[in-house]
């Protein structure tokens, strides 16, 4: 396939640091779109603010680069007003779950057919390495110089609890799984959440002595296991990858169409 067919070369070079994991998500995303055979004009990328959010500008789809934390709110307007569009929302961990946390749980609750990609590098990269709600206790950040006391969210548990009907997790090390899960998330009829662990060697890595980008990628390999693996029972520190939730429930735009039928039948 021709990756460049899906990219806006006018927009390059991209603004991500050397060693950043976000480019791997971009690559997997366009490959997934290609495999699904989606038309470029049928896709809208809606993003907020942050390093991850810049992904929407690089792809040759309709793109809406919005406000910090509000991407899912804009996306809800796009999707409900024109349900035929495929709406994909790439977000960072701070964007999705700190400032955007309310919109995240409510989009999940509605089960509106939007694909949320949470690119989790455990830091605010664009503003220079502050701690996020996914950094975790004991991590270092420019705003946690004495080490972080804020407990972290588990994105998968949060999305599941809020009612998302497709919930999955992988890392940028596992590119084949990443591509496959993006495909499944886009194809899913309902609100889908895919958390992608991505490395930020510039800030999170440096502050927390995680080594080079390659070292951080290797830690994704060594620190994660497939869902339901026995290794996880033996070592709770390991992070599970794969699909956690996949179920069919009434989708919001479909439910709205039924509501219109009831309203017009009167």
């Amino acid at each position: 396939m021709d990756v460049k067919y899906y990219l806006r070369e006018r927009f390059f070079p991209h603004m991500w640091c050397a060693g950043c994991g976000h480019g791997i998500v971009l690559n997997s995303l366009v490959r997934a779109v290609d495999l699904l055979g989606l038309k470029k004009r049928d896709i809208v990328m809606v993003s907020g603010i942050g390093c991850s959010s810049r992904i929407s500008g690089y792809v040759d789809f309709h793109s809406l680069h919005t406000l910090h934390g509000r991407a899912l709110a804009f996306a809800t307007g796009v999707k409900l007003s024109k349900p035929s569009l495929n709406v994909i929302v790439p977000m960072g961990d701070g964007d999705a779950l700190a400032i955007g946390g309310n919109h995240f749980i409510h989009a999940a609750r509605r089960n509106i057919n939007i694909t949320a990609l949470v690119m989790n590098n455990r830091t605010y990269g664009m503003t220079g390495g502050q701690f996020s709600p996914l950094s975790g206790v004991g991590t270092k950040a420019t705003t946690a110089p004495y080490s972080n006391i804020d407990r972290e969210f588990d994105t998968v548990e949060l999305a599941t609890g809020a009612g998302a009907t497709f919930v999955a997790r992988t890392t940028v090390y596992h590119v084949k799984q990443l591509q496959s899960l993006i495909k499944k998330a886009i194809s899913h009829d309902g609100f889908s959440v895919l958390e992608v662990l991505s490395q930020c060697p510039t800030y999170f890595g440096r502050k927390n002595r995680k080594g080079s980008a390659v070292d951080m990628l290797n830690s994704f390999k060594d620190g994660t296991v497939p869902v339901g693996s026995k290794k996880k029972q033996e070592n709770p520190e390991l992070i599970e990858r794969g699909i956690f939730v996949e179920k069919q429930l009434p989708e919001y735009c479909d439910a709205y169409a039924e509501l219109v039928e009831r309203a017009t039948a009167k």
Binding site: L67, R70, G77
Partner: protein, 382 residues
């Protein structure tokens, strides 16, 4: 009796005006005293096959209507004080990305939770400068339900014509008061449709390259042209840029498209201004009391008149100057600490002639309140 004659709340008149204007998509969050706009639309929109959604807050409501506008819809949200505060960031996004949308703010007492069920006109300057950064904005008002309906339709027209958010600055009295509304005939009030590009697929479409007349034809998300929309300063492609010349040109374009067309979006009513030595200036529900005073005093032979502004922003300075040039006394009647009075003083030029007649206790300013202060201003004693 014609079925076009109704007896409704101002909030219902606003909702009906929005439907008449061609509202396709509404997103909102409940808040007093604007909630009846949402309630009316929740009933009427699905029955007309339109989209209504109650969002999780006012921030997301404002964001959702911007998203829906980009797929080619006429969109609106409605709120009051605290909700209007929450919408400010996304309102600025609509300014920067030039997204047509309408925001009704039925004013209540503030700041903060303030006086939720009582009237105020305290958001006049928030409407003007509430979002951060240099910008211009359009805000319309009305003092009766026929005008609420009309101004709502005009708000959609201005939003589409100039690709801008338009604020409807109503107040609690107007929102909750019931009076007669005659629903206009289908073609009675002109309705501006979305201007879309005629460029075919394969031809470069520049979403932010103004035509000679300054207008920017749009292309719906989902249509053949794919482009970037951002809240960053951007070039004609919609791509982010910080090039000084592009930044300045875009800022000027966004301000000038409003400020250079003030006359085209100025709506007002004048009562007995021809020979008036005393000119009252008012808007919204306080203009009703001001008009009552003017009529009472005219009956007694006094040369007093009223300029009622339906367009508050962009401020029609030229109109105000013309209407007040022969006046000995200019009094702005408003329910705040003098928010529009400041603009009137600037327009009139001589601030000694301009006075404020106000009430800020949550009660509607009535004719007696106005007459009491007028007597003092005219040196007639208390």
């Amino acid at each position: 009796m014609s079925k076009n004659i109704t007896f409704v709340q101002g909030n219902e008149a606003c909702a009906l005006g929005a439907m008449y204007a061609g509202l396709d998509f509404y997103a909102g969050y409940p808040i007093t005293p604007s909630t009846e706009i949402a309630e009316t639309l929740a009933l009427t929109m699905p029955a007309a096959g339109k989209k209504f959604i109650q969002m999780e807050d006012e921030i997301s409501s404002m964001c959702a209507i911007i998203g829906a506008s980009l797929t080619g819809n006429k969109v609106m949200t409605a709120t009051s004080g605290p909700g209007f505060s929450l919408m400010q960031e996304a309102l600025g996004y609509a300014v920067m990305a030039e997204i047509p949308c309408v925001v009704a703010n039925v004013q209540r007492g503030g700041p903060s939770t303030g006086n939720p069920t009582h009237v105020s006109q305290g958001d006049v300057n928030q409407a003007r400068w509430g979002t951060h950064g240099d910008h211009s904005i359009v805000a319309l008002s009305a003092s009766n339900h026929q005008d609420v309906f009309r101004m709502t339709v005009e708000a959609f027209n201005i939003a589409e014509t100039y690709r801008t958010p338009v604020i409807l600055l109503f107040d609690e009295v107007i929102g909750h008061m019931r009076e007669k509304l005659i629903i206009p005939q289908e073609e009675e009030i002109p309705r501006v449709a979305r201007l879309r590009t005629s460029l075919k697929e394969g031809v470069n479409y520049h979403p932010y390259l103004p035509r000679e007349d300054g207008r920017l034809p749009m292309s719906d998300f989902g249509d053949v042209h794919r482009f970037n929309v951002t809240g960053l300063y951007h070039d004609m492609w919609g791509f982010p840029t910080d090039k000084p010349d592009v930044v300045q040109e875009l800022l000027r374009h966004q301000v000038d498209k409003i400020e250079n067309n003030v006359h085209k979006m100025t709506f007002y009513k004048s009562y007995f201004l021809e020979d008036a030595s005393v000119v009252l200036i008012s808007y919204g529900s306080s203009a009703r009391s001001a008009l009552s005073v003017v009529k009472q005093r005219r009956n007694r032979g006094e040369s007093i008149g009223l300029l009622e502004l339906n367009t508050i922003w962009p401020f029609p300075a030229e109109l105000v100057r013309e209407c007040t040039q022969n006046a000995e006394l200019v009094a702005v009647v408003e329910m705040n600490v003098g928010q529009l009075t400041q603009s009137v003083k600037l327009a009139v030029g001589s601030s000694k002639r301009v006075h404020l007649i106000n009430r800020v206790d949550g009660q509607m300013i009535n004719d007696k309140d106005i007459k009491k202060i007028l007597r003092i201003l005219q040196g007639r004693g208390i």
